[in-house]
Subunit: 208 residues, 2 copies
Amino acid sequence: MADAFTAKGRATRARIVEGAALVLREQGVGFTTLDDIRGRTGTSKSQLFHYFPDGKDELLLAVAQFEADRILENQQPHLGQLDSWESWQRWRDVVVERYETQGDHCPSGALFLHVGRARPGARAIVTELMRQWQAQLARGMRALQAGGLVSADLDVERAAAALLAGLQGGVAILMSTGDSTHLKAAIDTGIEHLRASRGREGPREGEA
Amino acid sequence: MADAFTAKGRATRARIVEGAALVLREQGVGFTTLDDIRGRTGTSKSQLFHYFPDGKDELLLAVAQFEADRILENQQPHLGQLDSWESWQRWRDVVVERYETQGDHCPSGALFLHVGRARPGARAIVTELMRQWQAQLARGMRALQAGGLVSADLDVERAAAALLAGLQGGVAILMSTGDSTHLKAAIDTGIEHLRASRGREGPREGEA
DNA sequence: TGGAAAATGGACCAGCAAGTCCAGAAATTG
DNA sequence: CAATTTCTGGACTTGCTGGTCCATTTTCCA
């Protein structure tokens, strides 16, 4: 917490984390060495261990946290403003576009899929990320309910959990196969599920 | 293809692959050495390279294929017989139960999430696995359509893609956080989506 | 301004893991 | 049954990688 670093120190530390994140996204955790990171960030071995005394594990954890924060940031402001069908659509487009262009090396992949297991610290980071992500989706769904756009009977937490799972799986499949069909299908179907929940009136008008 | 192995050779090779699969599930790709595999399978270094001349990569690929085959097998006969709501429910229970008990070390995780990127060979295996999986889900949905249980208007491929994504994401989250809520929510919601598609009649009776 | 603390450079070390090699045992086959 | 091939054991090599150490420079602050 209380960092005994000077301004210069903090800058260097940040440079290391950001550079490491880049390398990790490209190469994957299993194929990245400290020397790769050293080279990319223009630092020396001693700096790495100066800022991360516990070595690689600590650095990896810092990168995981850094990436986790960025993932939600990258979806703003849309993710925080899901109160109309249009805003949901915008959010959907941002997510799809982002992951499609990032393709293989995206933050969540590197972090979530690889670091996921193993270290308990990483697990905590992922768990917290999922919790916040789902909370924001659920909040958006409640906003729709408040506007009468979605049935008040809808189990919001469950719908949000399902949508989040679909999104994650879509990204995972995109990263493994290069195909974004599943990601789009998952999100669109999830949103349609919300639309359809609204009582018994015909749930079709606005088209994807 | 044409293996120049004797019966004994084939048995040894199979022993290596199966044993390696076990170790890989437990430890993850990044933390498994050839010596671990050697120890577990009771083989020598030269045997490993005798049966997998290209070394670790080739062995890992063989394990990936082995696991991919098992994943679909494990869901049978249910996955091949999805022609009623009851059979869908049975399949759902099998999947949830299997992944819940397997927890961290499940075949698809080790294979899919870790090997996924990197080697192009692994990517092909994953792609083919996803293709087959989705095809079987789609086939089940068409069976429901044929029985009049699901609207003929349903875009079966898209619904199957979405369900598959939800399942994958649910498993990924389960493996990363230890919580199966998302997996259940994703599958159940996916099935409800099918139910709800049937015309305009009230889509609620059987509860999850 | 001068001493302490922080920051940096990079040589060095130790362990480990993939892969090589060859000798010898088991088996296949003509 | 002898020759050839396959199979197995395990010592050895080689390269890499995380981590240590200490000397040097820069920054801080009283």
